[in-house]
Symmetry: C2
Subunit: 210 residues, 2 copies
Amino acid sequence: MTQDGRRLRGLRSREAILEQAVGLASVEGLDGLSLGRLATATGTSKSGFFAHWRDKEQLQLDAVDWAARQWAERVVAPAMRAPAGVRRLFALHEARLTFYGEGVLPGGCFFFTVQAEFDDRPGAVRDRLARAMREWQEFIRRLVAQAIAAGELAESADVAQLAYEIDALGEMVIIHSRLHDGAASLVHARRAVLQRLRALCPDPTLLPED
Amino acid sequence: MTQDGRRLRGLRSREAILEQAVGLASVEGLDGLSLGRLATATGTSKSGFFAHWRDKEQLQLDAVDWAARQWAERVVAPAMRAPAGVRRLFALHEARLTFYGEGVLPGGCFFFTVQAEFDDRPGAVRDRLARAMREWQEFIRRLVAQAIAAGELAESADVAQLAYEIDALGEMVIIHSRLHDGAASLVHARRAVLQRLRALCPDPTLLPED
DNA sequence: CAACTATACAAACGATCGGTCGTTAAGATA
DNA sequence: TATCTTAACGACCGATCGTTTGTATAGTTG
């Protein structure tokens, strides 16, 4: 094995640093997060980072990957345990709301903060971010298409349109809940998608009533 | 008059600086925007700012007010020219989409970027921002309530719920259009709100078909 | 054991940050 | 004309930024 004690220790601290970095970046962004503060937060020294990453951009790129992995484990994976169709689609929305509601990340959502930061700034971070978001939206669209194919959503439904609405209503929770009452926006986001799906679903037993 | 030529010149440069500041902040945020770059962008010197503002936070607060005034003129005012009711509600949504689509601000939306920046950071800027956003949401709710009172929306409609959805679908345009195809998200946002309102509106002639 | 590698550190670098200070030029006031 | 006010400036300050350098140390390999 190539993972001897040396590398294992390195990987451990690398993971710990990335976890802290994603958490802090969900609050202050990837650029607002300085190496100095990240160092004190992880209990290490500033220069120690350059043993793991060539420069700050490499750390930012790995942070994006780490956040995407976390999202896959805590949002996508729970939804995939629900049966395919409209139930899986709604389970995805609920898993996202649970992720926000539990406060897994101190800033609510890593991707929301970092998108707002990098959407107008060309570079490798923006490109990787755009790829991650594109994959996420394509995943939603795939679930919508599956639900239509299974006959659990009306064929008149526009896949891209419905996916856009579900994503928008979920994302908005972050914007609203940070400056105002978070619980209310969670309820609104859940009900909005639920009513939208129930209106399109021929079998009312597949979705909760409220 | 207290506005002699001296003060008038000061007011002019003050307005010019604020306009530049709001435009730049819509891209890089209010903190990411440094006084040095703002100085070169306005063709003045860095120290010249401190003749107008005590420190950076005062400039940020005035920038928030300036952006709110711009929003009132370019989004709220056009909507108020439409007849009260569901038409005014949809006119508000369309005015917002036009504001985004025309690219009035280089970053798309000042409030989106600055909210993401300050929502977790206590202070005067966050407070003024929260107040502006609360007034905006209350304004949407007022238009919804008016439409219901006028009999142009079903009484079963939940005011806060519908206002949340309209706001979410509009705001999402900024997130989507920056990293992906902007035209598509404008169409999705428009259709989503239009269909939602048409489903609740007893008079189909009040709203466009598509 | 010796040679090597990877982790981690302290110290310092130039650049840039927000902010201060003293000064200049021009309009307003008397 | 003499006096006062204010917009605007250049030069500079301490702090912090990302980054480089050199070094000490612990684990791996021959």
